[in-house]
Amino acid sequence: MNNIQVRLPENELDELDELSTILRTSRSEAARAALHEGMVKIRMSLAVRRYLEGEVSMSGAAHLAGVSVQKMAVELSRMGIDVFRYTIEDVERDSRFVEHELVKDRR
């Protein structure tokens, strides 16, 4: 493991000590846990936001969040976010394409 120095305001240091008491662990252990969970959450919320704004695909969001595409779908579902975001007109167009180009050319 490596050492890093982080400057913390007094109240956050108190919170960290409180956390380590609650978790019955050392201050370092509590800081590592908070940092880890915080990084995961920050990446996921950034990924979801960018997905909602149409800046990344679901797969792109999964990469931003550092999770699998499957996990990303579960996360979006949990938040009530649609994955199939196209219209019935798109579905009709897709269907016609499959009927005319793919089914007849089956192999």
């Binding site: 792109g60 994955v83 394409f97 499959v98 793919l102 192999r107």
Partner: protein, 162 residues
């Protein structure tokens, strides 16, 4: 013999695997193709359903090494699977369900379709029975791959009208 190839994206495969209906693709389209990047995205899920993909890869899903993605090519906002699909030859058909990936592909003049269109076409051509198509739609709407209620209602109506 036609050299028409249809490549499928990871989100489409994961959606079908999650409801145990990967065979829908085979029934409607027949043999399909995936890039190595798409395969890796699906296998990263590590669920038991990835075994179903591995089995299908021995039978009716062919995996291809994709050409290197050009620097001026697909947008970095897309995932590696989608980028690999956009670098395939222009004549290959693409099955994409992500809105951004679809838009990018359409702007590039690609032939694009999606899972919901495949389901509807399957029912219309008789490759899937009407009841079967409705059953798959029901499973999909209850899965982690959400769609709006209005989209679900419209597709259901169209299948029921067949």
């Amino acid at each position: 013999m036609s050299d028409l190839r249809t490549f499928v994206d990871s989100s489409t495969l994961i959606a079908l695997l999650s409801i145990g209906e990967l065979e829908v693709l085979r029934r409607v389209i027949g043999r399909v193709h995936i890039t190595e990047e798409v395969r890796d995205e699906v296998l990263a899920g590590e669920g038991p359903e990835t075994l179903v993909l591995l089995r299908a890869m021995n039978e009716w899903i062919k995996v291809h090494e994709s050409p290197p993605t050009p620097r001026t090519g697909p947008r970095p906002e897309l995932g590696p699977g989608e980028m690999s699909m956009l670098s395939l030859p222009q004549k290959d058909n693409l099955v994409l369900d992500d809105l951004l990936a679809r838009r990018t592909a359409i702007v590039r003049g690609r032939n694009v379709t999606g899972l919901l269109g495949i389901l509807l076409a399957g029912a219309r051509t008789g490759r899937l029975g009407r009841e079967e198509a409705l059953r798959v739609l029901e499973k999909l709407v209850r899965s982690d791959f959400r769609m709006s209620t209005s989209l679900y209602v419209e597709i259901r109506k169209r299948i029921e009208e067949i």
